[in-house]
Amino acid sequence: TISSNHWILAWTGLEINTLAILPLISKSHHPRAIEAATKYFLVQAAASALVLFSSMTNAWHTGQWDITQLTHPTSCLILTSAIAMKLGLAPFHFWFPEVLQGSPLTTGLLLSTAMKFPPITLLYMTSQSLNPALLTTMAILSAALGGWMGLNQTQTRKILAFSSISHLGWMAIIITYSPKLALLNFYLYTLMTAAAFLTLNSMKVLKLSTLMTSWSKTPTLSAMLLLTLLSLAGLPPLTGFLPKWLIIEELTKQEMAPTATIISLLSLLSLFFYLRLAYCSTITLPPHTTNHMKRWHTN
């Protein structure tokens, strides 16, 4: 999909991606996994069909099958909503936490990082003709919903799903103004999420209560998890702050300072659940979560 110039090849790439990851999701034949695979399939197949439909409409009106020449406005609208469905941007995000919950942790990693790359590439290639108002609305909704819905979660995969949704909001807000920044955000987000998922995978932690007792398995890894989570939240000395800072700077240059303020305030909500994860894993000693400080045995 990434190296294609023609819409049909892009659609083919998206279809192959969907078909390839379905067996990975449903590998364990558990009812939850099959349900997750069914939901993923329905959403992604519908979104692929919408991508094909938008490219067909564009071709009927302008005679072009080239990806960068998507000029018809209805076509751009349908394409944006189709890619939002593929990525999990609000308001098309409802499938994402459930699918991530039903899949194994390494497949969840693939779903959150690798499967997002082709749709983001399609947005990057068509970014000059997309509708900024729609994308800004979806981005703010994603940051809000990702933050708010993640607050009451105890399953780590769902928490990572909501963090993914809010990061995608940050990417979507800047893609019409500076697509390279959206790609930078995506690469750094991939790195941080991969670190988080692989850490959780090696500690085999699926719930918050498991996270509390996982420090004894690999103490250094849970210390690193603290740093990774804070980086995902976007705190200043860590890497995760860089894309947020550059995005806010670009938005203020585009006279969208209130939008930048709103999206930064909404990412405070996700800071809460990152901090809660870090608190449970690294800072406190279970089962007391409030008063005891952890004693780090080094001998």
Binding site: T18, E35, T38, F41, L42, A45, A46, F53, P97
Partner: protein
């Protein structure tokens, strides 16, 4: 907008609405997905006739191949969900609620 364009546009829109508003059975959703693919196939097949070029004649066949793969996968998932959930009623897909 010609009648041809309007016909395939309305076929696709109706099928996508059917996919969005399906109520009880998973198989009706898969059927709507197939009808979306069918309307796309007809549109792609009409394209070289409209533009009088012969090079895009391959495109409908390519699209049909991939939509057949997708249909097969959908049916496999239908069978798998019937094995684990007992039926294809969409009300039963609530194991993963928040």
């Amino acid at each position: 907008m010609t009648y041809l364009h309007l016909s395939f546009l309305s076929a696709f829109t109706l099928s996508s609405l059917g996919l969005a508003f399906h109520r009880t059975h998973l198989i009706s959703a898969l059927l709507c997905l197939e009808s979306m693919m069918l309307s796309m196939y007809i549109a792609l097949a009409m394209w070289p006739i409209q533009t009088q070029t012969t090079s895009p004649t391959l495109l409908p066949v390519l699209m049909l191949t991939f939509s057949a793969c997708e249909a097969g996968t959908g049916l496999a998932l239908l069978v798998a969900s019937t094995r684990t959930h007992g039926s294809d009623h969409l009300h039963n897909f609530n194991l993963l609620q928040c």
